[in-house]
Amino acid sequence: MRDTSTAAPAFDELAPSSLTRIFGRMWNLRLGVIGGLIILGLILTAIFCPILAPSNPYQQDLVNRLKPPLWMKGSFEGHLLGTDHLGRDLLSRIMYGTRVSLVVGVCAVLIQVLIGVSLGLVAGYYGGKLDSVVSFLVNCMMGFPFILLAMSLVAVLGPSLENIIVALGFTGWPVFTRVTRIETFRLREREFVLAATAQAFSTARILSRHILPNLLPTLLVLGTVEVARAIIQESLLSFLGLGIKPPTPSWGTMLAEGRNYMLLQWWLAAFPGAAIFFSALGINLLGDALRDLIDPHLRKG
């Protein structure tokens, strides 16, 4: 048991010097820059992968299948990260996989924003019965195990790129509704909105010109983080066999295939997963830094 005399300095630390605080913030911003660079790298890879990739991601070579990465014994020249069960170059497939991940991540979140923000605006602005209905809907969606809903949706629509976007878009919107609703609720009572109302502006104008712009920073931060989630969820659906169909390179599908070889060929599962991890990490880092820049009050802890 510690006595209070040793605990006293800890107590003083509760009010960190402004220097520590500034340092903490700089650190956060620096991490944000790293996140931004990761994202930039992803986007560039997605656009230029036909030039950047060392070989064709569909090119099979059954003689040289399951080759380990270059730095291991038994590797095959030209395949930096080794080859998969059909002898395809793992690095090239991972590079092409950025396309699927980014497209699904961004498009799914756009759908989520569209549904979630409109419902949230309406519920928050009008309140009353409309608000109760929307809140009930959000509660239902939250009560539904997300992954089962997304899986059933993909099973109904059939696994394809568009349908995964639709499935993720239509299941992920409640979080945007919640945030938009509560913020709209608060903004509705502010003077500038009351002034606009007094000038008899149309509701559409008040919502789009006076309320929505004030929500943008929060939505931007939330949207960034949600893109990371959508990328992970796409890979998850693909992993469960309800996503992008082979041979299209998707990180989740590659991971699912690699899982069958994890006893001996660990790299087949490790690298596609690492790609998902670093993408999500980069996006989260950027999101955190944005949150810090835009609204220090939003900071966690």
């Binding site: 509660n139 195990p145 089962l148 469960l240």
Partner: protein, 306 residues
């Protein structure tokens, strides 16, 4: 309090109804039981007769009403199209494994997140705090199932410390529990930390210290009690995430629980089972949320449930 609980329960029934309706319609569109149950060489005429016998040719609303009546009054979610036993029986067989996993995860998460959160709050910006922040950051970006596979490769395949899949012993439980727990850990750790920071420089803590209480008593009995309220709320909400995560974790570790049952059933289109799993899941989620709210009100008398 009682009125509040009753209202919440009524709401819960509403949510269960809507959830069952959504999943019923989805699965109605999705699967044709006739194609699963009848042999592939069955002719069009046989399929028609079969549909008539099973009542599958009726309008969807009537079929849903029929399903609802059986489910509510007889607890009958229909027969599994594949296993040919009642869907609820299949779930009852799988439920213990999932509950076992859930309990293990809860124990693991709280054993790690509470001490880690308290330490990072008390020693703010120390090495331990920064380490915890870093772990939280990394944990949030980690795809659950990939983390599970990596654990299997490292601790199962390379080091041979733990079994890589299946169930049966305590050792089988370790990797799935860590995998699933890693999902909740970052959030809970941050929550305990910020909850502690909120109260640590308040007057009543200073009073407690001035009374000469040991630091441990001050932290645990006075400060943590306050941080515990949001933690309990989030734990209640996480039951839903946990069940969703169980779907993934059970698939990765071949854990014989409800989550794997759901995945397998969706794959083969065994819709009575999917239906039952979804409703049971939703039920657990709602009850857990309600319990968490009640528990929070019991711990913190300032919370009034109305």
């Amino acid at each position: 309090m009682r009125a509040y609980i009753i209202r919440r329960l009524v709401q819960a029934i509403g949510v269960c109804l809507v959830v069952s309706m959504i999943s019923f319609f989805l699965l109605f569109l999705n699967t044709d039981p006739a194609l699963i149950l009848l042999p592939p060489e069955a002719e069009m005429k046989d399929i028609e007769t079969f549909k008539k016998q099973m009542g599958l040719d009726r309008p969807i609303l009537i079929q849903y009403g029929d399903f609802l009546q059986k489910a509510v009054f007889h607890g009958d979610f229909g027969q599994s199209l594949v296993a040919k036993v009642p869907a609820l029986q299949l779930i009852a067989e799988r439920l213990p494994a999932t509950l076992q996993l859930a309990v293990a995860v809860m124990i693991f998460v709280n054993l790690v997140s509470i001490p880690a959160g308290i330490i990072s709050a008390v020693r703010r910006y120390s090495l331990a705090d920064n380490l915890a922040t870093f772990v939280a950051l990394v944990g949030q970006a980690m795809p659950l199932y990939w983390f599970g596979i990596m654990l299997i490769i490292i601790f199962g395949v390379w080091l041979h410390w733990l079994p890589i899949s299946g169930s049966g012993s305590l050792a089988h439980l370790v990797l799935p529990a860590i995998t699933l727990g890693s999902w909740m850990l970052p959030i809970n750790m941050r929550l305990v930390r910020s909850g502690m920071l909120d109260v640590l420089n308040q007057d009543y803590i200073r009073t407690a210290r001035a009374k000469g209480l040991t630091e441990r008593k001050v932290l645990i009995k006075h400060a943590f009690r306050n941080a515990a309220v949001p933690l309990i709320t989030i734990l209640g909400m996480q039951i839903g995430l946990l069940l969703g995560g169980a779907v993934v974790t059970e698939t990765v570790f071949a854990w014989p629980g409800m989550g794997r049952l759901a995945v397998d059933s969706i794959r083969v289109g065994d819709y009575p089972v999917v239906q039952a799993v979804v409703v049971v899941f939703a039920f657990f989620v709602i009850i857990a949320n309600l319990l968490a709210d009640i528990l929070a009100a019991l711990i913190d008398p300032r919370i009034r449930l109305e």
